[in-house]
């Protein structure tokens, strides 16, 4: 089976240094793959190279068996879309939800636009009442739903997610994560997710790659994450640091608080 995304010996140069060094991995169709790492690990840069937002890369990137060149053409746009971290920065400030969602349809000359917009808004759990609101009249969660809807308008097969929930509140994050799980099931999408949050990976992904200083140090199944059994010491370190932020169980938490001497 052709992988939905395959990256082979990828190097990305930024200024004079390589920020991504010899990274290879692939995601099967229908799989949800996560790239995790701290800031500066090069995880976002990899996604940006795939879509052509970063140009200075060497190696091989294949999307559904088609090697990537620099340009974004219409066929690629229909195949692969991206969702960004900051829903405040990823929507045009002067365009209504309606205009934002219509844009891909206009670019691709797709008909029945109004029906499709309303349908898509319902699919991502946005009240159609919000159709003519501007981004500043929406909450962070609603904006991220608009961004997801925009990415889905062209019915892509591969969705690249760059920290899709890290700018959101906890309860909103839960909603968006649920939505992402649901639409992947409904539409049989492939996800490649970039995040620093391991619990999010645990909820959303099947497999993960751990990046450090631009190198892929380990690839593991999500079961390794759930049990905390990584092969590489760095992955384990990352795991330990993430514990507690979202997942220490309450008894252990109590213990920790008592231990600090109140």
């Amino acid at each position: 089976m052709t992988p939905a995304l395959s990256i082979d010996h990828l190097f990305v140069r930024y200024g004079r240094t390589d920020v991504v060094k010899d990274v290879s991995f692939s995601a099967k169709p229908g799989e949800s793959y996560a790239l995790v790492g701290e800031s500066g690990s090069g995880k976002s840069t990899i996604l940006r190279s795939v879509v052509g937002m970063v140009r200075d890369w060497r190696g091989k990137i294949e999307v559904d068996g088609m090697p990537r060149q620099g340009r974004i053409d219409l066929a690629f746009a229909r195949h692969c879309q991206m969702i960004f971290q900051d829903p405040y920065a990823s929507l045009h400030p002067r365009r209504t939800v309606d205009a934002t969602l219509l844009e891909p349809l206009k670019v691709h000359g797709i008909r029945d636009r109004a029906e499709r917009v309303v349908q898509m808004m319902q699919d991502v759990g946005l009240d159609p009442r919000f159709r003519f609101r501007f981004p500043h009249q929406l909450s962070g969660g609603q904006r991220q739903r608009v961004a997801i809807a925009r990415a889905l308008m062209l019915e892509p097969r591969l969705l690249l997610l760059d920290e899709p929930t890290s700018a959101l509140d906890v309860s909103v994050q839960a909603e968006i994560l649920n939505l992402l799980v649901r639409i992947r099931e409904e539409r049989n999408l492939t996800y490649v997710l970039v995040t620093h949050s391991l619990p999010v990976v645990s909820f959303l992904c099947d497999r993960l790659g751990v990046l450090r200083h631009g190198r892929l140090v380990e690839e593991a199944g999500v079961s390794a994450l759930r049990t905390g059994t990584f092969a590489e010491p760095y992955s384990q370190e990352l795991y330990d640091a993430s514990l507690g932020a979202g997942d220490r169980d309450l008894a252990a938490l109590q213990e920790a608080t008592r231990g600090m001497g109140m």
């Binding site: 906890v170 839960a174 909603e175 799980v181 619990p199 999010v200 990352l238 514990l243 938490l253 109140m262």
Partner: protein
């Protein structure tokens, strides 16, 4: 029983809106001793506004009213803006979310920390320098003499935040308000910074108000937690009693966080439009 260090009664914050004034904080009250108090809430809950109101940092068009705002026997409401400036920094100081925006980009770190000290105390130059070096040492910066000569863009996020903490703590304030001090930092650095704040607070016998969206993080570093929702304190908890939370909002917040060993297919979500009674 002595008077609490800080007493806040019935804080209300109002902003003008296109359809008349909108009240965003509805009567928040608490007492703060020399302890670590956490304020938790999501965006729009009014937690940051509460923190800023304590320092009277909110400016027009925000309207801030309190029935009582007393710090160490001083009625902060009665102070002039000039007297208030003497309180800010010297007695109550604040660490903000992102050190990138809080540090002056064209001043070296050493100068900035020294400046924070000089504004409030009149000290000879050599004394200032020793104090700055000692402070950087305390926030566990390895090579203080080198770091003092650096500009903010030359240090990492975690180091920047440590510099901020040094700057805020050098005048030896009584209260430190930390508003999301680690949300701009990597997980591994977050713990270091919070541990540092914790040690400094406990070591100097200060009071801490830690404002964050992360309930469990706040519970780990505080003695007491106020949960805010839509401008109201919906629940007050002992940090160790998180599991005993009774309020549906607090419970919802705790359940919505994905866990490392996540097996749930769907995360529980809250009804966002729910209005809770106090």
């Amino acid at each position: 029983m002595t008077e609490p260090l800080l007493q806040l009664r019935n804080l209300r914050v109002t902003f003008p809106g296109p359809r008349g004034p909108v009240q965003v904080v509805h009567g928040v009250s608490f007492d703060l001793g020399r302890e670590r108090l956490g304020i938790v809430g999501e965006s729009g809950s009014g937690k940051s506004l509460t923190g800023r109101s304590l320092l009277r940092l909110l400016k027009h068009p925000a309207k801030v009213e309190t029935d009582r705002l007393i710090f160490d026997g001083i009625d902060l409401n009665a102070l002039s803006e000039k007297q208030m400036r003497n309180i800010r920094g010297a007695r109550i100081s604040m660490v903000m979310q992102d050190p990138k925006f809080s540090l002056n980009p064209v001043m070296t770190i050493g100068t900035q920390i020294a400046e924070a000290l000089r504004v409030h105390e009149n000290l000879p130059r050599t004394e200032v320098k020793t104090r700055v070096r000692a402070m950087l040492d305390q926030v566990r910066i390895d090579d203080p003499d080198r770091v003092m000569k650096l500009y903010p863009h030359e240090v990492s996020g975690g180091m920047g935040q440590r510099v901020m903490i040094a700057m805020m703590l050098i005048p030896q304030p009584d209260v430190l308000i930390a508003d999301e001090p680690t949300s701009a930092l990597d997980v591994s650095v977050q713990a270091q910074v919070l541990d540092l704040i914790d040690t400094m607070i406990v070591g100097n016998g200060m009071a801490l108000i830690l404002i964050s969206h992360d309930l469990e993080l706040v519970a780990r570093y505080c003695d007491r937690v106020l949960v805010m929702h839509r401008g109201r304190v919906v629940e007050e908890l002992e940090a160790g009693q998180l599991h005993a939370a009774t309020h549906p909002y607090t419970k919802g917040l705790l359940a919505a966080v994905p866990r490392m060993d996540e097996t749930r297919k769907v995360l529980p979500v809250m009804d966002r439009d729910m209005e809770y009674d106090q």
